[in-house]
Amino acid sequence: MRYLKLFIALIFVLSNQIFAQSEQHTISGYIKDDATGETLIGATIYSQDAKVGVISNPYGFYSLTLPEGKHNLLITFVGFQTFKKEIDLTSNQKIDINLKGKDVELDEVIVTGEREDANVSEVQMSAQKLEIETILKLPALLGEVDVIKSIQLLPGVSTVGEGATGFNVRGGGVGQNLVLLDEAPVFNSSHLFGFFSVFNPDAVKDVKLLKGGIPAQYGGRLSSILDVRMKEGNSKQLKVQGGVGVIFSRLTVEAPIIKDKMSFLIGGRRSYVDILAGPFLEDDLQGSKFNFWDLTAKLNYDINENNKVFLSGYWGRDTFGTASLFSSSWGNVTGTFRWNHLFNEKLFSNVTAYISDYDYALGVNDVSDSFNWESRIKTYSVKPEFTWYLGTKNTITFGGQSIIYDFAPGTTTAVSGGQELPPFSLQNQYGWENSIYIGNDQKISDKISLQYGLRLSAFTYMGPGTTYEYYPADEPNQRREPIPGSEKEYGDWEPIETHTNLEPRLAVKYQFNEKSSVKASYNRMAQYIHLISNTSAASPLDIWSPSTNNIPPQIGDQYALGYFRNFKDNMIEFSGEVYYKPIQFLLDYVDGADLLLNQNLEGDLLPSKGRAYGLELYVKKNTGKLTGWVSYTLARSEQATAGVNQGIYYPTRFDQTHNVTVSGFYEINKRWSLSANFNFVTGTPTTFPTNQIQVQGYSVPHNVDGVRNNQRIGYYHRLDLSATLNGKKKPDRRWEHYWVFGFYNTYARKNPYSVYFQPQTERSPQGVPPPNQAIRLSVIGNIIPSVSYNFKW
């Protein structure tokens, strides 16, 4: 309530300002790429005379209110020529701007001193934007360019190792990231466990990661928002691009349907490891299936100057199995419909409706025995959003979201020895998440800007379903049994438990001068759905659970402070940030927890709390023949659970003290360019045994004081290199092609993924346990060369 009062006071202050202003007019419109008609996200439009500017929103729309009179406008965007326009403002104007690419003309374009100083001038901190051009240049595993692997090179972002699904942001778990593809959530962003991500780089327009200072329009996860936006499709002419790599082949087609009004994009990828491997597989693996594919499609239509609609979809699937006995598969399907509507030059709205369906299945089918398991999560959502460009100094965003969750955690059918078993299913669980928000970007003076907002979120765990109450555990780390007779039945849509949270957001920027600023932010996030996983890497079989009558939502705060400084006309940008994140509620698991197909899963969960803090330093060189960045993260991520590690804080599996990344790109000439990437990470924590217990001739590992994550596996470091050879460009032909040659893990280091303890596999004499041994697993223990061929026309 305190926050609400503060908020109303601020609105009051700001409304006074509105009436105090002199005669003003608004220019508005879309900023687009001249060559393709794609709207540009985050382009800056700036009046040199009024010294105010605004950046285009995720749909390329801008609205800027200026005093009456002459204005010199500068429109800038990374990778594009700066556009200058002089206007005489006497009334509201609609101005659509088309920016030309830097390499459009053959002569070197001299870019005027106008800068991309967004990192200093914007209020938003802890945000990381990766240009798709940068992602394309980074050396990649097996030459497959990858969005998720690329963001792991940024400060504060990490992974527990190669092959691990997802990513960790500022000490948070994999399930604490909201991964959005055209605003629809993607529950599993990985192909082939974690080796590749589901995003087709040819179809991606923009990638933005928010680690902190998260504005009010986002919510639902504690750690980060990864906002991936797809291209709309070339509205000028037919464009085809694709490539042939070691893992995937890919092809993307985009074209106008009605020139400048309606266009589409469709892109697909398929792996062909199985096809290549087929002839080499031994008899019993003949016919093995392992493939993954994805298809991305989008259609957009400019109905008129005030209305635009978009339809986008993603289909992807991973399938693994033997010819007929064993099969396993998982996949995401998302569909998004969006409608942009301009009420007037100052009020922009977007309504998004999406469905997202994630399913995973396992099956064993023999002659007289079978077992099939299926699980899925469906979400349906509507999300209206409004942006009100109030004046030169305020931009108000408000809106809401309603999400319905349908979890089917497990449905099985089985036959044993010819006898059909009764079907066994865990009950479906339903949740309804509703939120409303309002936020304001406010410029107080040339030096001080604010971004503040409030989000009110509520989650209702609802029927149909049965709830249980549990006995308290005798000791903290013990399975709790349901109380007989405590079952309660609930009907369709009947609320079981509602959790409500007020999530305040605040960010402040103080700009010393054009080159430097300091920013601070606070945000509270509430997360109502939980990834249930106690393995070292998240597995595709991990289930999600809603907050229930027994599982409270996760609530996390984040305080961050940063200093931003640019050098040499923004050629070099520097940022340093510190953060502290206390988390009120996390999940932990009883020892030996049984997470799959467990009717009383809630009894195997333990309440836990967490904290993460760290320092992130980032230096980036933007221009010149040599570009790139150095990032360093010093961090800690800890968790405390009664009954685990004697209740004392212990480092989480993704705690990495030091994480250094150096990424560099060097352009030798017009045809050859090189890139390199070096990564050093402190080994992740793990638990080592201190003793053995001998029982019945077996030697069981034992840690005498039940200490968790008391040791670290060795350092991780790796160097990747790649070289790009551009084909000769012929001015009269649109065909362009390039080769990428790469080496992953160039000096073939056997980086540890985990160290585990097992008895030797040789048979030992009767009654005597075999000797124990420690084994280091390196997921990638060798240098991996790659080559790929890419084309477009």
Partner: protein, 332 residues
Amino acid sequence: MKNFIYISTLIISFFCISCEDVINVDLETGRPQIVVDGWINNKFESQKIRLLSTSGYFDNTTPPYIENATVRVLDLVNNKTLNFTYDSDGYYTWTPTTLADTLIVRQRPGDFDRDGDGLYDNYYKLEVSVVFDNKDLQFESYTSLERVPSIDSLFFQTSKGDTEKDDQIYGELFAKDFAGPADCYWIKTWKNDNFLNKSSEMLLAFDITPGRSDYGNILTQATPFIPPVRLGINLSISEEEDERGEKNYEVGDSVYCEIHSMTEKAFDFMSASRSAMANGGLFATPLANVPSNIVASNKDAEGMVVGVFCGSAISSLGYRINTKPPYDNRKL
């Protein structure tokens, strides 16, 4: 899950990029604790309970024996005390004098709650007192002997070989789990009188499945074990053993199986032990201590004792492979 891990390992190794190396790790040995290895059964034979000390994880010598303890088991149904006396190698023994003195197996459902207090009754209580580390420790544990199904048959088939591999004989155990929840079993197999003693050959069943499941709640009739349990009586052969030409079963081999009923707590202990000894790979779980059912009964004993106490009823069946079994029609 096992298949899933197998397939994932296969895919990763297809890239020829992952590798596992045995490494040297310096482990600090923790303070010693007492380990109770107490398994009693309904056979007319000498009953043994073993007390050892924990030892360093890489220590290959036999752990120190606990020789000076007082060990007794109370029969809570008949109010009798069974005094176990020290024999050797850490074993304390007690032998029933007549057949009528053998331990009793609880029958369901009537025997579950004899005194009608709504709580699960145990038949036997272990009491141990011992001076260890200059402290007088006392601890206890409870168990019953649960019902056990008979083994219907041991069935052998031949899986057809090819140019690379010979024909392979493998066995399958058929037994039906009782209707009703949480029947736990440990199935032990001997090949030519040698117990299959690898941790990867430890075969447990929770009702019809190898791990905990809720099937017991929904099955209304006796049901055969599912294949991972039925086929679990075969050998686990390492790559090196395979290269040396070691075979699963051959004509002439004798195979003997026993089903030991277990309490749920003992199942959790052994199941966690099996996981801890097999833990590894991409989806390893953090090392967690196995859940002991031995409870300290005085302050000094807290945090000083681990292990398991369990009673079992035993059924058994043997088979000699005299001729080559018929070929199977399995898919793999």
